[in-house]
């Protein structure tokens, strides 16, 4: 484990999480949430939990992003608050 890479990914996780909360565009928020999941997947694999990383990559970054986009498609793209 190289700690510089670890720190960089951890920073990206936090940035993506805050970004997904702050962004007004719901489509952008769901894409940011997908990137958050992908960074979490990298963190899991760094920690040696490969099975969890695989699940995170397929469910978190893959299918759930698609489901969010499908839900955004059925509502408005901008948040009200």
């Amino acid at each position: 484990m190289i700690w510089q890479i670890d720190l960089a990914i951890l920073t990206l996780v936090v940035v993506a999480a805050i970004g997904a909360l702050m962004v007004k565009d719901l489509l952008g928020a769901s894409v940011l949430f997908g990137s958050y999941s992908f960074m979490m997947c990298l963190l899991w694999s760094i920690m040696g939990a490969v099975d969890v990383a695989f699940t995170e990559a397929s469910v978190g970054a893959g299918v759930s992003t698609v489901l969010f986009v499908a839900a955004v498609f059925r509502t408005t793209r901008r948040t009200k608050d």
Binding site: D51, V66, A70
Partner: protein, 277 residues
């Protein structure tokens, strides 16, 4: 209200950071979690179940009861999505004009209220928001989908040796069908995986899992003790545990595959099953 929420969030975060100090250090061999049960799994999994991947053995064999109800949770998620979102054709209000598209030439015609097209194979009914699928995306996805599905089957079958298993493989297999629905139009995808088939598959997956457990019970061993299957499969009890894991993984895969498609179809077309993403 926002400020109160922010304060509560920060307080909870600070509390969590404070509590995290009490956790054992990462990968500490003297921590309670890795002194009692973990050594048993690490040392005995190979001779007890002949499965090289310990995670798979723990998930589907030692902790099989837990995984069975996880599968049931996924099944109920699919069923709930269906009950909340699905709109039957009778309740749906009729639009003022109906649009039909000639399949071969792509010519679209609109009929005013009250007029109906005589049923024919040349024309298909479309929504007003219908857009033709892009040729490049369509062809690219058509090339990709078989490989995605092959990889998903590999993941399910190789859960014993490498990371993965029924859950991940099922999700990837479901994602390949979702890709078909996105790149073509949803009616093409629904024609291949009809709603009835998906609903039945969803239940069949859980049934395979629970049925394997019940079969072990009928053969006079504990629920989900796969060594009972040795007589049926004509192998020794240890190999039977490995085969039993494969059977329940296939069950999980089928249930997850069907649920993913079911949820996607219901969300993307808002329960109407005609046009979607």
């Amino acid at each position: 209200m926002k400020i109160i929420g922010l304060i509560i969030t920060f307080l909870t975060g600070a509390l969590l950071f404070y509590a995290a100090d009490d956790f054992p250090a990462w990968s500490d061999p003297a921590s309670p979690a890795s002194t009692y049960l973990s050594p048993h799994f690490i040392e005995k999994t190979m001779e007890e179940t002949s499965v090289p991947n310990i995670v798979t053995a723990v998930l589907a064999d030692y902790r099989g009861f837990d995984t069975m109800f996880e599968t049931a949770v996924i099944f109920s998620a699919g069923v709930v999505c269906f009950f909340l979102l699905r709109i039957s054709r009778r309740e749906e209000e009729e639009p003022e004009t109906r649009s039909y598209r000639h399949v071969l030439t792509g010519v679209t015609i609109q009929l005013k209220e009250g007029h109906k097209m005589p049923p024919s194979a040349d024309f298909e009914r479309i929504d007003s928001m219908w857009t033709p699928p892009d040729l490049i995306i369509k062809t690219g996805c058509r090339l990709m989908i078989p490989f995605v599905q092959l990889f998903a089957l590999y993941v399910i079958a190789h859960g014993h040796h490498s990371p993965g298993g029924g859950f991940q493989g099922g999700v990837i297999l479901g994602a390949s069908f979702i890709l078909l629905a996105i790149s073509h139009d949803p009616t093409t995808a629904v024609r291949r995986t009809s709603e009835k088939l998906i609903g039945i598959l969803c239940a069949v997956g859980v049934l395979i899992y629970a049925g394997t457990g019940a079969l072990c019970l009928l053969l006079k061993l504990n629920f989900l003790d796969y060594s009972a299957l040795a007589g049926i499969l004509h192998v020794d009890p240890i190999t039977a545990r490995s085969h039993g894991i494969l059977i329940v993984e296939i069950g999980v895969g089928i249930a997850v595959l069907a649920t993913m498609i079911w949820i996607y179809n219901n969300i993307s077309s808002a329960g109407r099953y005609r046009q979607g993403l």
